[in-house]
Symmetry: C2
Subunit: 140 residues, 2 copies
């Protein structure tokens, strides 16, 4: 139910010391309700007519939500960020899957934990970013 996501969103925002504005609540509720990682454009599309929101405000709200660790953003080969709520299941680092036909992005659960990526001498490991590409069930 949408109202539940809105309540959850509002609480999460306030718990992080931010102002619970209509825009932020709406955006986070959309991301909480969505199981795929979606683009700025797609979020804009899903916003109700009752909640007009400037492009820039949307960008800034997303930036804030990422900072506060309420959502994460995914790099893609089409040069478009995709955003997804941080759920417990996907608590930390995880890989992503991107359909090469419909561009849909989902979060996977694994990530190769081994840090012995034998980097050149003097290099320091920080994190891994991994995308599995293929066809989703709809596009197969």
């Amino acid at each position: 139910m949408t109202i539940d996501f809105r309540n959850a969103a509002e609480e999460l925002i306030q718990h992080n010391g931010g102002r619970a504005t209509a825009g932020r609540i709406g955006i986070l509720a959309i991301l909480l309700a969505e199981q795929h990682a979606i683009t700025h454009r797609e979020i804009e599309h899903r916003l109700p007519e009752s909640l007009p929101l400037d492009r820039v405000t949307l960008y800034r709200a997303l930036e804030w939500l990422v900072e506060k660790n309420l959502i994460h953003k995914v790099t893609s080969d089409d040069r478009v960020w995709r955003y997804h709520a941080n759920r417990e299941v996907h608590a930390h680092r995880h890989a992503h899957f991107k359909c090469t036909r419909c561009a849909q992005v989902i979060c996977l659960d694994d990530l190769p934990e081994k840090r012995n990526w034998h980097l050149p001498a003097g290099y320091r490991f920080q994190e891994i970013e991994l995308t599995v590409k293929g066809l989703c069930a709809d596009c197969c």
Copy 2:
């Protein structure tokens, strides 16, 4: 020596049924001489004054070189493609490393070959794209 790379570049281009124009030879020679994956901008910068080349021509030449499998391009989180010559060592799929401070990108040799990324039912695996992030030796 630059001249060697130019000769190699010319031969590679002709072996692939393409016209060995000054632009293509110059671009491929630059990429053969470079051990890092570099951006369109960086390639433009490295072009000698004696070889002025339009932005668009550079883009199209890079596209052609990728098609012919003479170079590969790397996705990055800064929305900028980076290009690198295909050497035997890095023959096919491989991971990349990107410095989070200076944005330098190098090619790594490994890639987790296991395809059991237990994707959702009905999904089909195609390929993996993996970037290790961290600090390079200069930035540590």
